[in-house]
Symmetry: C2
Subunit: 132 residues, 2 copies
């Protein structure tokens, strides 16, 4: 089935303050209660997950993730700001999905195939005519 | 300045039928009159540009790009369908940008910094607590 993929990124200078991967990381930190657990769930290294958290914590007006002081097990939770930013990001994503469904997405789907053709059936289809 | 980046992709099965790169390629094919010229403009190989054209030509209900028969110089132009798909893709992108501006984008910008902090100022900011 034809479908649309909308990737929403919030940029702070050159840094990506929020995007699909960071939003999922926040969800999993909330669920697992630690950056390490979230990293495991997402199949990424702890250091990589921490780097993503560090970027978020430096892009927003306050930290989105707080580690639990005095614990060495990497316990972490979302701050109130973290919960707010995540909720607003999800809400914006949802409103954009709605917009896509009601603003011309149908105009495109009527023109697309269910699946790509496996090869060019026509003789003068675009094809390489030698390297350049 | 905080900003938003919306990446719109149209999927046909597992293939990306249209996205920012393919839309730009179509624009440049129209402008240069050839796949080779468009590839040069975008700093990609002719073969890579042709592969992108081939995917588009197999995903939509007809070819978006047609090579000029009998020419060995890679002359190409957009079909009427190509013009239509590109216009509708651009229109959907524009309507999504409008939606973002009027649906909660402001709620996020009020919470983001102009630029990321260079480092964590607080003592208990999230930080690595040993490898896992």
């Amino acid at each position: 089935m034809p479908s649309i993929k909308l990737t929403l990124q919030v940029l702070c200078g050159d840094a990506i303050a929020m995007g699909p991967g960071k939003a999922e990381l926040l969800d999993r930190i909330r669920h697992t209660g630690s950056i390490a657990g979230a990293a495991r769930d997402m199949g990424m290294s702890y250091r990589r997950a921490w780097q993503l958290v560090d970027v978020m914590n430096r892009c927003w007006c306050g930290r989105l993730v707080e580690t639990v002081p005095g614990r060495s097990s990497g316990g972490a939770c979302l701050t109130q700001l973290g919960e707010t930013v995540l909720a607003r990001y999800r809400a914006l994503q949802a409103s954009l999905d709605d917009c896509a469904a009601t603003n011309g997405w149908h105009d495109l789907t009527t023109l697309i195939r269910e699946k790509p053709l496996l090869h060019q059936p026509e003789a003068n289809a675009a094809r390489p005519v030698g390297e350049r």
